[in-house]
Symmetry: D2
Subunit: 337 residues, 4 copies
Amino acid sequence: MLNIGIIGAGRIGKVHSESITYHVKDATVVAIADPFMNDETKAWAEGLGIPKISKDYHEILNDAAVDAVLICSSTDTHADISIEAIKAGKHVFCEKPISQDLAKIKEVMEALKGSNVKFQVGFNRRFDHNFEAVRSAVAEGKIGDVHIVKITSRDPDAPPIEYVKVSGGMFLDMTIHDFDMVRYLSGSDVEEVYANGTCLVNPAIKDAGDIDTAIITMKLANGALAVIDNSRKADYGYDQRAEVFGSKGQVAVTNDSASTAVISTNSGVTGEKPLYFFLERYMASFSKEVSLFVKACLNNEAVPVDINDGLQPVLIAKAAKKSLEEGRPVKLSEITF
Amino acid sequence: MLNIGIIGAGRIGKVHSESITYHVKDATVVAIADPFMNDETKAWAEGLGIPKISKDYHEILNDAAVDAVLICSSTDTHADISIEAIKAGKHVFCEKPISQDLAKIKEVMEALKGSNVKFQVGFNRRFDHNFEAVRSAVAEGKIGDVHIVKITSRDPDAPPIEYVKVSGGMFLDMTIHDFDMVRYLSGSDVEEVYANGTCLVNPAIKDAGDIDTAIITMKLANGALAVIDNSRKADYGYDQRAEVFGSKGQVAVTNDSASTAVISTNSGVTGEKPLYFFLERYMASFSKEVSLFVKACLNNEAVPVDINDGLQPVLIAKAAKKSLEEGRPVKLSEITF
Amino acid sequence: MLNIGIIGAGRIGKVHSESITYHVKDATVVAIADPFMNDETKAWAEGLGIPKISKDYHEILNDAAVDAVLICSSTDTHADISIEAIKAGKHVFCEKPISQDLAKIKEVMEALKGSNVKFQVGFNRRFDHNFEAVRSAVAEGKIGDVHIVKITSRDPDAPPIEYVKVSGGMFLDMTIHDFDMVRYLSGSDVEEVYANGTCLVNPAIKDAGDIDTAIITMKLANGALAVIDNSRKADYGYDQRAEVFGSKGQVAVTNDSASTAVISTNSGVTGEKPLYFFLERYMASFSKEVSLFVKACLNNEAVPVDINDGLQPVLIAKAAKKSLEEGRPVKLSEITF
Amino acid sequence: MLNIGIIGAGRIGKVHSESITYHVKDATVVAIADPFMNDETKAWAEGLGIPKISKDYHEILNDAAVDAVLICSSTDTHADISIEAIKAGKHVFCEKPISQDLAKIKEVMEALKGSNVKFQVGFNRRFDHNFEAVRSAVAEGKIGDVHIVKITSRDPDAPPIEYVKVSGGMFLDMTIHDFDMVRYLSGSDVEEVYANGTCLVNPAIKDAGDIDTAIITMKLANGALAVIDNSRKADYGYDQRAEVFGSKGQVAVTNDSASTAVISTNSGVTGEKPLYFFLERYMASFSKEVSLFVKACLNNEAVPVDINDGLQPVLIAKAAKKSLEEGRPVKLSEITF
């Protein structure tokens, strides 16, 4: 049994706490900490049976009974807390991105050197049933050599402008999942990026210096090509699709919806919209990624998403940003790390 | 080259004339006759290049240059004209049903005995791309032994009451195609029928002594079961589907529509309605059935839908009608023939 | 918080225990009893944190702390234990069917008279996301008046012959869910049944006096028609579909599968098979039905599936059996109750 | 009635001759010319009832009875014959592309100035039922303002190397249809192109100086973004899809196939592959584009695909080629015309 401490009791910290309690075998949440811990959150944590509730995550790091931590705090704290946890000998599951600052990621990598700590990054979509099915088909050679990877990723609505301003930009905030997906589905690193981006959804996003619509193309190390299209607002809901085309065929996944119901009337033949957003669409992936983290910790196995998997999408996002700014394709090797 | 005379220049006579002219190789329409031939129809026939246009079909039967006739006249004349044509040595393609009167069908069968005349019945749906695909899958053993045949057949709108009154009832007028489809898809005769029928679409149909909604179940000679569901009015259009389930799996076909377009909006994910009615849905089947008739005539081969195939659905319809009247399953052997 | 005792720790008892523990708010499993309680099951129950584990369900009925029981024992004990539980003042959630013996169901109904006990029957499929979507569309009038209800229900494989022998026959064992579904989706009672049944999957089932393939048609009290097709073995997996056709259109649901992945190769365009069987397909419905039972108990509301809903499918199954035996349509009023 | 002369009796010349004869009202093929006219082609033309058959297209241009010509000769002759035809006062339907040489297109444009000749370019896919449905949805505002256009266009197999060598490159030979489609579906011109291209299908294509796999992104004049992905070989067949995403939703079309048949077995749920190639997929579009050309000629209306529509895709293809060579986005304004 792995004893887990949760650092950060915001939305994603709560999701992980509940999914571990109800769905992850061989793991227990033994502690949770959040600087803004209030009565409501405390009651919620008690309801889940979490014995140790505090405002200071050091209480978790200093607790010898804690084997591993989930870092669900704000993005800018991920790297520093990771380093502290590594030094305290705790296995670390760190929410994505490790950092928007490459130097910080480097520090975490340094801290990991020589340690026996497991370090996993929270790219949960890899554990979604649909994307796993695509990856399996590719890995089993069902479509032959990979030629083209296509990802459609559109949110149901743009985030608040205040969030946009501190998000690090759409590529680091939203597309980062899709950059990871390109690597996961293709089984290859990315070598070069060209980004087209614009602001068509909300002019306030442009005023905030960001974009809301983009098409990003990539050249992969294995010779294949990839493309992602993004929008911050798809009126029909969360659009999460992927295709991988290869020498022997194609595998594609489309959206999940609440039911298979199709209503045929004089107006047409109408099915349901996609599931609303990531909590509906990807809920099962959260327990699956942690289950595999737990398994890796308990059996001393490799984690399924390691620190390099955490680093690469940040590098791609940086290259995409540079491409957008300079209006030219940018190689990942141009990004100083 | 087969010289064809068309007897009857109503809707279906026109459909056949045009499809032979434009789509059937090795055949020419050399004559057309209709007692109600008017200037408009004459102009249409001339436009098609049909050289001989008359009011009297005997001019066709007496024309030595005519090899074959398509009988597209009103249903009550099919059998008598068939017999005259057989006696005149013309190959016969007769629109369905041969007759609503079993004694008349018997007379046609008698007339055919000893003759070299080809006789095909116009069950065109057998030549529809979708139903052919089902039949191929069954015949090739892809689904193993047939266990269950399911047919959904619903019209987009009920016919006029005046038509209902002379139609012979829904089973002989509409379901007869589905009875044929059960035989075609299963490759088996029908042994027993039980019919549930009611009037839910238009009370005037009930007043006319008919039904507009039905579920008919059948026991087949090969041991399989079959079911047809019918409605005279599907608000979303012409619903023409079939499934055959067997020991190794299932083959199913759904409706055709005008395009594959799917529009996703805040209201749902909406595709097109089925093609409106039989002229849209089954147009290609009309030229295909005649092409095969022409081939059978020219090469002295068996026709794909012979007189027994024309008889059986009438027997099934009679049994269904009796079942509905008597509230019990009726064997085909109970129908006097 | 509702304290629940589980009577019967077989497959379905375990499913309910786990789903209550992990997914049902406001309820706790406080006791479980099974005459065959062994070490393995005991360890499992302890792992779930169930405090009271015994071989005798009377310990549950006699426990004042228990508010409600789930009767998950063998079918032949459902009615008697229900009556004991009612007399003990416990709310009852009884797995389907209440009994295969109508007299026993009558006894339970008698026992309920004048009591304040809630009594719910375990027709879980009503709480499946797909069937709920069909029911909602019908109830909201989206398809107008109901004309035709169609249910396809096929198991992935036939049960062992030993099970078949004691199952009460396919109609009472398997089709009973579909009879309930006809009532649920249509919002109407069934008045008359005609059953075609045969043995095409496994001759040993015939030897055991049962059938494995059936088409059952029904006349409903609201004037609509219904049809169910059943097979004990669909080689492609658990086939669970439904359609309701009405004056304004149709609503249909198809199967769920493990992912939306479609692989296109030289061999065709291939999607996944349906989810394997009821535990995969209907898992979420088990927690939902119990959640609503808990809500009804705590708030003194009507249960969503009451004892009449438990009785009716048994009556329909009896009528279907009689129809099959006598080769004629049978009215429910013919079944002595 | 429009009298048409066909210049070029190769594959596409034959397709047009047959589709005009059988499907285009108000038009007749009165002459056909091909320098390689042989006995077989002559017999075919006679079978269609074409009265005038020659080796020299000047016989068509000099024939006062000819109202219009379809230029179906080899690409390098399109422009010169167009100019001759314009000077002869014949309406011109010219197969795509007008020329691979922009100077030649300019000459045609000059020749058209002041003439009353109709000039249409053969971008037939605009008249495909699926793409028309997408365009209609966009034009009717069903998806709001256009944000993203996505086109997938993959051939079932790579052309012979000898063809590749003289094709002008994949962008001018194959992608040119997709460039036209971007303009047609979006209703906007293209301003900038960035092309990723590689050779993954057949190394001999690389040796011939061409590519076989590409992803091309575009910035449109209306502010939207577009992307095309191409492959010379999709093992599952001709993949022709499009999506347009906008402020209010998305419209998407997928492939047509020979039937809707779906076979469910132990191996999966398998539908048919796409229709094999452009003759199967786009046959109906050939008669439709010519019908509209005929209508424009007879009624002195604007043609649906004018010379600018013929020019723009060549400009985009040139920009794409330059982008690929120089590894940077290229504006259409950089292409000298």
